[in-house]
Amino acid sequence: MQHYSMNLKLKVWRQKNSNDNGHFENYDVNNISSEMSFLEMIDVLNERLISEGSDSIAFDHDCREGICGMCSMVINGQPHGPWKGTTTCQLHMRAFKDGDQITIEPFRANAFPVVKDLMVNRSAFDRIIQSGGYVSVNTGNAVDGNSLPIEKQHADDAFYAAACIGCGACVAACKNASAMLFVSAKVSHLALLPQGEPERKQRVVSMVAQMDKEGFGSCTNTYACEAECPKEISVLNIARLNREYLNANLSGN
C-alpha cells in the first residue's frame, strides 16, 4: 500500500464541560501520515495545541487495538468513522485523502451527556449491566473445555453477541438514540448459555427497565445500529431480546 502524507481541515466539537453549550472549532493539520491511526492524528494535533499553550482536545481511548470499547466520536456523521466493523482507534488515516474536511463530534444522546469535547459519559451502560447483565452462580475456576456441552448454534450466537464491546456506537447511530442493540447483545449472550439460565427472565425485565430509565429512545427497526457497530452485532439479537422480554412477562417470575 502506497504511503502518503496529507493536509486536513478538521472541524472539532469543543465543549468545556457538561454545562457548556459547546461549539465547533476549525483546525488545519498538516503532514499527516496515511499510516497513522485516527487517534494518533488527534494526538499530533493535541501536542501542537499543548505547545501553543491552548487546551488539548479531550477524547476517550484506552487499548487502541479495537477491543476495549472506550474510543468513541462521530467522524463525518458516522460513529467510529467510515470503515465498516472498525473502532475509531483502528481507523487509519489512509481512509482519507489530502485536503479532506473532517467533522468530529461526540456521540450524541441525552443518555450520554458530554463530559468534555469528544468525551461522553457512558455510565448509563454500566448501570444497565449492573441491573442484570451478570450470572450469580459461582463459576469457580475455569472448567475444562467441553465439560458443559452447549449446542453449536447457541455457542456461536452467544459468542457473536458477546463480541459487543459496549462502545455505544449503536446509540450514537440510531435516529432514536436507542440502546436496544447493546441491551439485546448482552441479554442474548447470557440467555443462550446454561450459565445465564437462573436469572434469564429477571435479567431481561430489569435491563429493559433500566434502559428506559436512562432515557434511551425505543427501537423503530431502521437498523442503523447494525451498520455502524464496530463488532457487527446483528439486529436479530433485538428480535431475541423482544422474544425474551415477551416470554419473561407472559410467564411471570
Binding site: 444522546a109 438514540a177 427497526n221 451498520a227 431480546l241
Partner: protein, 236 residues
C-alpha cells in the same frame, strides 16, 4: 404478565404497535376483499349486499368496536413513541452520513401515519358516517331493502380531486406498510436468520399489492371500468 408494562416500557409500547398493526393489516385484507366486488359483473348488487352484511352482522359490528380501539391504540402509542424518540437526542449532529440501512419511509412512519389518519377522517366522513347515520339512497333487491353504498361510491369518485386524495392515501399506506410489516415481525421476535428474508419479501408484496387494489377502486369508479367476468362474485 404485568400488563402495565405494555403501556409503560419501550418494548411493551412497541409490542402494542406491532399487535394493533397486524390487526389493522387483517382489517385491510377484509376491507379489500369486500370492496373488490366493484370490479366484477353485477357490481352494484353484490357490493351493496356485501356492505349490508358487514353493517348488520353482529359479530362484524362487535369487531368494529375492536377495530376502532385498535386504530386509537395504534395512533396514540405511535405518537407517544415518536415524541419520546425525538426527545432522546436534544443536540443534533452537524453531519449525518447514516441512513444507508433504511429507506426514507422507514424513518417517516409518524408522518406517513399522520397522512393516513387525515385520509381516514375523510374516508370515514365519505362512507362510514352516511352508512351508519343515514343519508344513503335505498335500493330493492327482490323485496329486501339495501343502502345503495355503490351509488355513493360512484358519486364521490366522480370528483377528480377526491380520486387524487384517495390515491395519495394509498401511496401513504403502501409506504407505511413497507416498513410496518417487517418491523412488526421483528418487534414480536418472529425474525431469525432463516425467516427474516422471507418476512421482508412477504411484507413488500403485501404492501404493494393491497394498496394497489385499493387504488384501483376510485380509478375504476371514475373511469367506469369493470371486468367482464360473469361468474366471479365475492359475495358473502
Amino acid at each position: 404478565m404485568n400488563w402495565s408494562l405494555l403501556f409503560s416500557s419501550s418494548i411493551g409500547k412497541k409490542i402494542v404497535m406491532a399487535l394493533t398493526g397486524i390487526f389493522l393489516v387483517v382489517f385491510l385484507v377484509v376491507h379489500c376483499y369486500v370492496n373488490a366486488n366493484i370490479f366484477f359483473a353485477n357490481a352494484e348488487e353484490n357490493f351493496n349486499r356485501a356492505a349490508h352484511f358487514m353493517g348488520s352482522n353482529l359479530l362484524v359490528r362487535i369487531t368494529e368496536i375492536g377495530l376502532f380501539a385498535g386504530f386509537i391504540l395504534h395512533i396514540v402509542q405511535g405518537y407517544k413513541l415518536e415524541l419520546q424518540n425525538r426527545g432522546s437526542r436534544k443536540t443534533r449532529y452537524a453531519v449525518t452520513a447514516g441512513n444507508k440501512t433504511s429507506k426514507w419511509y422507514s424513518r417517516s412512519m409518524a408522518i406517513l401515519g399522520t397522512l393516513i389518519l387525515l385520509f381516514l377522517i375523510i374516508h370515514l366522513a365519505h362512507f362510514w358516517v352516511p352508512s351508519r347515520f343515514g343519508g344513503l339512497e335505498e335500493v330493492y333487491y327482490g323485496d329486501k331493502k339495501f343502502h345503495n353504498l355503490y351509488l355513493e361510491m360512484k358519486n364521490i369518485f366522480a370528483e377528480p380531486w377526491v380520486v387524487i386524495v384517495y390515491l395519495l392515501g394509498c401511496f401513504s399506506l403502501s409506504w407505511h406498510l413497507l416498513h410496518g410489516v417487517q418491523s412488526a415481525a421483528q418487534t414480536l421476535g418472529w425474525t431469525n436468520k432463516n425467516f427474516f428474508p422471507m418476512i421482508k419479501t412477504i411484507g413488500i408484496v403485501f404492501s404493494i399489492l393491497v394498496p394497489l387494489i385499493f387504488a384501483l377502486m376510485p380509478l375504476a369508479m371514475y373511469f367506469g371500468l369493470q371486468l367482464d367476468l360473469e361468474n366471479i362474485t365475492l359475495l358473502f
